[in-house]
Homo-oligomer: 314 residues x 2
Amino acid sequence: MTISQELDRMISEVTNDLLSGAAELALRAVNIFRYAISDESGGDRSLPAIKSNLTMISRKLIKGHPAMAPIFNLCNQILFAAEKCSTTEELEAVVGKSLDEFETRLCNSASKIAETAVQLIPFGELVFAYSFSSTVISALLNARSNLRSFRVICTESRPSMEGRKLASVLASSGIEVVHSFDSAMGLFLPTCRVAFMGVDAVARPGLVNKVGSWLLALACRELNIPLYALTGTEKFVTDDQLFNFEDFERPGTEIWQDPPKGVTVLNRQFELIPFNWIAGLVTEDGILRGEADVEKYVDAIKVHSDLENYAVST
Amino acid sequence: MTISQELDRMISEVTNDLLSGAAELALRAVNIFRYAISDESGGDRSLPAIKSNLTMISRKLIKGHPAMAPIFNLCNQILFAAEKCSTTEELEAVVGKSLDEFETRLCNSASKIAETAVQLIPFGELVFAYSFSSTVISALLNARSNLRSFRVICTESRPSMEGRKLASVLASSGIEVVHSFDSAMGLFLPTCRVAFMGVDAVARPGLVNKVGSWLLALACRELNIPLYALTGTEKFVTDDQLFNFEDFERPGTEIWQDPPKGVTVLNRQFELIPFNWIAGLVTEDGILRGEADVEKYVDAIKVHSDLENYAVST
């Protein structure tokens, strides 16, 4: 297998994974970059060849998961780091360090968010959790290890059913889980005291997350249940970048294998939720309450020229 | 096969049908009663034996679909009709006539509702339709035969997927259908100009319909999309009777075949929607707008003593 075949295989594994959250997939993307800059890849070790590989990997990863901000921000950071380097050795060191930093940032974010979130879970109560998010999982497991007693209600998350993965992970850690289908949210939310969801991307217009989050947020607002979005600031993107999720469409056959003639099946995966429908964004810097709090992070983002105006369809 | 075995088989076919709407199943229940009072059943032809069979059929049908008002009202009407009869011949005639009347009422209702509903579909626009309802189908087919041009968006209706049945029936009649999963409602509703749903039961507290209707109604209110519930007045019940749907729970395995230990799967099928979230109830008597309009129908309902206080769990 050539280096590009091996990279393509690794990239496909990440882009075909519909069950994992954005932070989890970004950590796996870190390893793809590690492989690309390492000796073991055995490919062309010239500086232009490696830089060109980093751009190729970035574009394919972003195209695969255009709504997932941590993947975009990882790629963006790596391309800026590589740009400064004038030798292969320097690139190995600089990009390697940048990858370590990104990984550490993600893990530290998750742990700080978990510390904040534990305070939001009332003793002995029901917690609603939607879709699959490693950040939400780590918050709930942290709460459990702090001897908080609570139960979780979650739903399937059609069509990929990553809600089952959430239920399984929580149950295997000794958390009692109640599970149902997505449209039954309205039946179960009134019994919950708080709701949590992960996030794929955040910018001024709001936050992007798995389809169903809009209905969840609307129902929580109606029922006066605080809904918190758990997100490290590595999920913040520019306002333009935020709308990349609109280009992401999966095959209709994932929903209905053989629809009859005259039926068009649409399989869109993400949607935008306004900030004022949620109680707050729980980040490693504390709880942010809306556009004003988000602005300073978004303003600080610079997009690398290789990714600028990079549409998913290209 | 004895008469009671044959009746049990016919009843099971109706109670195990999770894909059909309330009006459709009530029409099939009519045929079960027809069989029970007819010569062809070949059972005990004494008056007490037939009356006892009618009570048994009524209770089993209601227990099988406790949320479906037309089934309750059919059974109620038949028991009142049978009560007056003092010979087998009289019962055959009186109950037979009552069955004919019920069937005619259901069909006339559907056709009058369809006439009213066609006025609610704007030319060339998108219509949202939820779950499966023969009343909604007949309204949409009537609109199509009136040369209205429109497209329908519908979702699956997990877990029984009767939304696929809706999509298939509409498409086979030449109506263009867009289909997706239930939690994607929020993505598609903003493109729709009107939404329709069927109904299982109506009383003063509101209307009962398939789970997901609460989220649909909430989203329609948020987006200013008029949501009409299409229902013949044979779906009106007493306030007590309305809450029978709460006793109806299906096996969790219909949602998740083999959940891991620690995960409880709940499969509830119906929920209550407040009147003030919908634009109106389209009935054979015109469009009703809320509790005040519904009251006179509900007040007129008398429940037969064999069905009074008849809890589903008995």
